[in-house]
């Protein structure tokens, strides 16, 4: 790509429209400060990218002071076609292609510019002092990203990141599978395969023996049905007998013989015959107590009446004179009599209580006797039932005994059935254990297979990720090797390397190489300028299409000797790079004999 013409209007320093034709190899703009040199460099960058060359500045700020919008135009040659691009600071854009004598608006699918982004243009084609300062304060990660962008390996590195994520995924899966594998154990489970045939064989043998006993003589016997009915009746009688015996045990509790209970009842009956006498005794005591109580009441009434006469001279009824001594004697007599009655009544009370208690005890005895009589009656009933059941049992036994004796095979069959049941339970247990063992074994085998697969996946992803890392290393290495050689040669040309063996490694240093062990930040102004110029030129070689260099004041900080070397270096670049140089050093500008010089002083 080669630039042919720049047009500016209302753009920074340039209010009026100005246009500048550019030479195909070298164009030198020279002028004093504030003559619009840097503005032109910014105009070229803005036309190409739509962005401000100065970081952080928005495009509208590029317009001239007071102007609503600024415009830049750039005519250029790309892929053997001529284009022109007009861009305004408001955001308008128009790209046209020369077609004969007319300009035609480009279709959307037309390739109008090299496939470079604004970072590529900025890093590969423009040198200005601001950028050098900005570059120095960038963190290493940003410089590494920039390097990757310049090398065009972003997609490769993104793919590498993706493969690393897949590797993590496969590692996680493998770890989970290994965890499951390790958790599965055959603890407590044993392989019963060897024992199963023997158990099965034992069961089969017993079944065969039992089968062989089927159809024995008893099965077809004519009286077999009768025998079975009698057997059932005998069993029922036996059951009844046992139940009755249990009931009898419950009823007779405390007595060994029924006679003992009967004797006790007789004895209590005799005792109860005395209850009538006790009743009579109680009644006579009651009568006596009532009589004494009445007597006491009468005596007390008389005593009260006599006491009422004391202190009187005549009787209130008959008006006869009273003898006080006789009244006192009467009172004393009645009091003695009263006390005597009281004592008698107390004795009668005590006797009555005693008789009443005796009657109560007799009543209790009578209640118990009733219970005992009921028990005795129930005992007699149960004894009768037992006798009946025993008789019935004997009857059935007699009848059964009268039948033909049973074949011994029936007894054997029962024993065999029991043995068979036992072996079947054993076999079922063995089979259950074997089933659990098999399930666990299958789970372990499955976990092993899963782990094997996941391990292969993990190895596969590691293989891919490692290969990708080598690919990235190789691609970056190949690309940067050229740049390293170029920058090293350039620095040697400027006599910046004092140690001859020293070599620049842009990848390792992440675009910030050191010179003779000195960090970029510690270099002098001229050294920084030379190093930065060398890096620009070297990196621009990595970008197809970046065929021009815009150098704004490259001689800043350079002494006379280095200026001459810069001049020679730029001249040597001219066959492959179009150079657009802005300087305020008229002497330096005049050193380029074949260049197109544009004097901005005027």
């Amino acid at each position: 790509m080669k630039l042919e013409k720049i047009i500016v209007k209302n753009f920074g320093f340039y209010r009026e429209q100005r246009q500048f034709e550019l030479n195909n190899d070298l164009t030198v703009f020279y002028g004093a400060n504030f003559s619009g040199k840097s503005t032109l460099a910014k105009a070229i960058y803005f036309a190409l990218t739509g962005k401000a060359l100065t970081t952080g500045l928005k495009p509208p700020a590029l317009a001239s002071t007071g102007a609503a919008s600024g415009t830049t135009g750039l005519f250029y040659h790309h892929q053997q076609k001529n284009f022109r691009i007009y861009r305004s600071t408001k955001g308008d854009l128009q790209i046209e292609q020369a077609g004969g004598e007319k300009w035609q608006r480009c279709a959307e699918n037309t390739t109008t510019l090299p496939s470079l982004n604004f970072q590529h243009w900025r890093t590969g084609c423009f040198l200005h002092e601001d950028e050098l300062g900005e570059f120095l304060v960038q963190p290493p990660a940003s410089r590494r990203d920039l390097l990757n962008q310049l090398l065009g390996v972003e997609s490769l590195l993104k793919a590498q990141e993706l493969f690393i994520q897949v590797r993590r995924l496969t590692k996680r899966r493998e770890k989970t599978a290994v965890g499951l594998q390790e958790s599965l154990r055959l603890d407590g489970l044993a392989d019963r395969t060897a024992e199963l045939p023997a158990a099965k064989s034992a069961v089969a043998k017993l079944e065969a023996r039992l089968q062989a006993l089927q159809g024995t003589p008893n099965e077809g016997r004519p009286d077999e049905r009768l025998r079975q009915t009698w057997e059932q009746a005998k069993t029922a009688a036996q059951t009844r007998l046992e139940q009755s015996q249990q009931q009898r045990d419950a009823v007779r509790a405390g007595f060994n013989q029924r006679d003992e209970l009967a004797a006790l009842l007789q004895q209590s009956a005799q005792q109860l015959s005395q209850r009538e006498a006790a009743m009579r005794e109680m009644e006579s005591c009651t009568e006596l107590r009532i009589t004494l109580t009445n007597q006491l009441r009468q005596v007390e009434e008389v005593l009260a009446m006599i006491k009422g006469l004391q202190g009187r001279e005549t009787c209130p009824t008959c008006q006869q004179p009273l003898a006080p001594a006789a009244i006192v004697k009467l009172v004393e007599d009645y009091q003695i009599k009263r006390e005597s009655i009281l004592r008698e009544r107390e004795q009668a009370d005590a006797k009555e209580r005693e008789a009443r208690e005796t009657v109560r005890l007799f009543d209790e005895l009578a209640r118990k006797q009733t219970e005992l009589e009921q028990r005795l009656h129930r005992w007699q009933q149960i004894d009768a039932e037992i006798v009946a059941a025993q008789k019935e049992l004997e009857t059935w036994e007699t009848k059964l005994a009268a039948l033909a004796p049973l074949s011994p095979t029936d007894e054997t069959r029962e024993k065999l059935q029991q043995e068979l049941d036992s072996h079947r339970r054993l076999l079922a247990d063995l089979e259950r254990q074997q089933m659990l063992y098999e399930q666990r074994r299958q789970a372990i085998l499955s976990a092993n297979r899963q782990t094997e697969i996941f391990t292969k996946h993990r190895l596969l992803s590691e293989w891919a990720a490692d290969a990708l890392a080598r690919t990235a290393q190789s691609v970056v290495g190949i690309s940067l090797k050229k740049a390293d050689v170029e920058i090293t040669a350039c620095l040697k040309n400027f006599d910046l390397f004092r140690a001859q063996a020293k070599k620049i490694d842009l990848e390792k240093s992440q675009l910030m190489p050191d010179i003779d062990g000195r960090a970029l930040q510690t270099l002098s102004g001229s050294e920084k300028t030379i190093l930065y110029l060398s890096m620009k030129i070297a990196l621009s070689r990595l970008m197809p299409g970046a065929d021009f260099l815009v150098l704004d004041d490259p001689t800043l900080h350079l002494d006379e000797t280095r200026r001459e070397r810069l001049r020679d270096y730029l001249v040597s670049l001219m066959p492959e790079k179009q150079i657009i140089l802005f300087t305020n050093d008229r002497g330096f500008a005049e050193q380029f004999a074949n260049a197109k010089r544009i004097d901005l002083f005027s």
Partner: protein
């Protein structure tokens, strides 16, 4: 360097690695082909998910 060139370099690195250490004789040419296809897909589609890439890489569902 375009994507095809990158895949070619990648394949070369894969093969070289496939003869070394823990990767030796572990993978078949089908594995190699699948990995290369997955890599080409990742280059073409940077927004591809890791799950899809896993499936492309291993030929199995994640």
């Amino acid at each position: 360097m375009n994507d095809q060139d990158l895949v070619a370099v990648f394949r070369e690195k894969l093969r070289a690695l496939g003869k070394e250490g823990k990767y030796a004789r572990r993978f078949t040419s089908e594995d190699e082909e699948r990995v290369c296809r997955a890599f080409a897909m990742a280059l073409e589609n940077p927004l591809i998910t890791e799950t899809l890439l896993f499936e492309l890489l291993t030929g199995e569902k994640a």
